[in-house]
Symmetry: C2
């Protein structure tokens, strides 16, 4: 039996890069036995050579300049794990592909911005880009979309795409922690970066949504095409009220198509407690596909972390031979054009919360605006406990055009007894 | 651009076979555009030529003898959809492989019995067996196990593998239907066969469990190695009591490995309502993998039906070129040997229900046996309503060896005031 030699270079040795090397060290024998394969790491590189890592860097050839690794003649694959949507990561990606090496990356920002361009370069050079680890960690959603569901007309993809946000919302909900404490816990547990902006702003989810959308629809959407709202406006009262109303609040990325118009959005959603998604807690991610053949498929697993992400990368490494005919490189450069839907044209139910003065007539003033605009309310609550001296009012609407609601909300916010901006959270049915 | 020609024959034109042809007819253009591919059906065959079907059979070459289709010289793939663990299906499979054609099949019974043998034949003839549709319908679990999770050491695979049973249990639970009515509904809705024996007996789940287990562990387990219990002993009282105790009752197939000992079992389980599995209702299937890298991954989708199953078959057809280096054909013939665990050696919690005479002392008699054998009870209920004149007693145990419990149950059943066999349902934690 001939043992196949696979020569790789690894650039970026943070949590994930270290996880890949540790795992390859631990599993050398079993991988050889199972796949007749030796995976040889011919070069490694990272920003800081002297950082303490879980493996002995002296066992590997260190390159101060990561671009030099790509020059190693018999290298097959470059694994890029430094992150960032441009700069060095982009340079590495471009050079890898033009030097006719395969690229494996977990870099969602890079792919969301330069995915189409890089896939054209890959195609031209007859190599592949594999990026299972870039979206939803251990969930093999990229492989499923590229190699399965081949006759499926997917009209909707939706998911919990950011483990940090899901962890924070879970902890706020279940342990009644406030946002700051929940975030700090997430950081302590390694589920959030020291700078959590990309996570809590919804940007990270938007990167992943753009990648999934472009893969499914062969489109070329960009981050700017996504309506993005983070989780910072979700408060403990909202989570508590959602529970009372039979919902959970989740940060979802949603992309759906109707009549060649695609809507891409990332925002907190109220999701029915009877939905499977409502059970996806803490750092777990979830992806739901909805298609004409199979209906809904749910994929749920760890969205981040050292080992789950390393597992996806190693699967990409081992199967890279199989991936020669991967759909992505084909579909991604055949660009389809779609219109982008405007959020204001979306119809749905809404949860609204506002703080008002405890004075007679305030409710009548607010509801008269709803009546005038024919906004039908399905439930209304007034919380017993005041917050900062104000009464909290909660309304749940029936289906209504977002545009129409926004106009009414602007008017309501002008009522002098209404003391805060209206906190609007969309209700997502059919999940 | 060269359009690739893929020539297939389809044997078996029931629901699934018809679904495949209808879909290929409807999607000819889009598949050609997306994959540069023409899928040509060169021959069809089924038991009954004159049955009314959703497509015009006159458009295709009909073969009275299905084996003749395999002789068509330029055919690439035979799709076998007649079912059955031996007989004609086995003949078709063998001939297909020895004639060096690829085999696509949804036949779980055949694969559970002859999978290892057929995969050796496939390997010898350098062709593939693809069988995504044989397990869990639209859920791409076979592909995931073959092409992803390649560094994963899976120690546990578990699932709701039979849509009929899940549908029946859901309806009994949520609509309080009795077993017979729920089964009839399942049949009317097309989720159960007219002869439901294989489904409700647990055999169908066992076939699928054997296939998954042998794929993961490169083992060669047979149906006889699986402990099998169907759903007929689950009553509406049990479902109701399970709800009160915070559980749902599901028919699960479970295969787990510990110290090279594998336990394979299919039986009703009490699963915590907080588990994702508890939300998998009606005809949905679910598979959970648990591994050292990614932890738990959940895959949930339609387990049966015309379109979901056709979707898996068509993905197998389109991707058959990619599958040349599939892991299965390698792993399945490299046989690993494991010991089989005895159910009696399993430790767990149990739910027990028994009908007793409403006489003083009966509870003391029963509990004295528990005490004698040091079986610790975590909760006990006596239902207010008698059934057929008997009082229903329910016990939930703490962790205990099954062997020890069974011995005690035998003694309890001999108490003359105990009027029925003890209904034992295992509680499955960690799901």
């Amino acid at each position: 039996m001939i043992i196949k030699q696979l020569n790789i270079g690894i650039i970026g040795l943070g949590t994930v890069g270290t996880g890949v090397i540790e795992t390859l060290e631990q599993k050398t024998k079993i991988l050889k036995k199972k796949y007749n394969l030796n995976i040889n790491i011919l070069g490694i590189s990272a920003k800081n050579k002297n950082k303490k890592r879980g493996f002995n860097i002296k066992k590997y050839n260190w390159y101060d300049n990561p671009l030099d690794i790509i020059e190693i003649p018999n290298i097959n694959i470059i694994v890029e794990l430094i992150g960032g949507s441009s700069g060095l990561a982009l340079k590495i990606a471009k050079k890898t592909l033009t030097k006719k090496k395969h690229l494996i990356t977990a870099n969602k920002a890079l792919l969301a911005v330069y995915g189409k361009q890089l896939s054209k370069t890959a195609k031209k050079n007859d190599v592949n880009i594999c990026y299972e680890a870039a979206v939803a960690g251990a969930i093999p959603i990229i492989n499923i979309l590229e190699n399965r569901m081949l006759s499926e007309n997917i009209t909707n993809i939706c998911g919990i795409l950011n483990g940090t946000c899901n962890y924070i919302l879970s902890k706020m909900d279940e342990e009644n922690l406030n946002f700051e404490t929940a975030l700090k816990n997430a950081q302590n547990e390694g589920f959030a970066e020291s700078n959590p902006f990309d996570d809590i702003s919804g940007n990270d989810s938007a990167y992943k949504l753009v990648i999934l959308t472009n893969l499914i629809f062969s489109s070329n959407f960009k981050i700017k095409d996504v309506y993005i709202e983070g989780i910072t406006r979700v408060s403990n009262i909202d989570l508590e009220m959602a529970n009372k109303l039979g919902y959970k609040i989740l940060l979802l990325g949603i992309s759906n198509i109707k009549n060649k118009v695609i809507q891409l959005r990332v925002h907190p959603c109220l999701v029915s407690q009877s939905s499977l998604l409502a059970k996806v807690k803490n750092e777990l991610n979830a992806v739901i596909t909805d298609g004409d053949m199979s209906g809904k498929n749910f994929f749920i697993g760890k969205g981040a972390g050292k080992k789950p992400t390393a597992a996806s990368i190693i699967s990409d490494i081992i199967s890279f031979d199989n991936s020669k005919k991967r759909k992505l490189s084909n579909t991604m450069e055949k660009e389809a054009t779609f219109k982008k839907a405007n959020m204001l044209e979306r119809k749905g139910k809404f949860y609204l919360r506002m703080a008002v003065l405890d004075k007679p007539g305030v409710l009548a003033d607010i509801t008269s605006y709803f009546k005038k605009k024919k906004i039908s309310i399905s439930s209304m609550f007034q919380l017993e406990n005041k917050i900062s001296g104000y009464v909290q009012l909660i309304f749940v609407t029936h289906n209504i055009l977002e545009k129409q609601l926004i106009l009414t909300i602007k008017k309501i916010e002008k009522i002098d007894k209404v003391k805060t901006k209206v906190n609007l959270i969309r209700i997502e049915n059919n999940l």
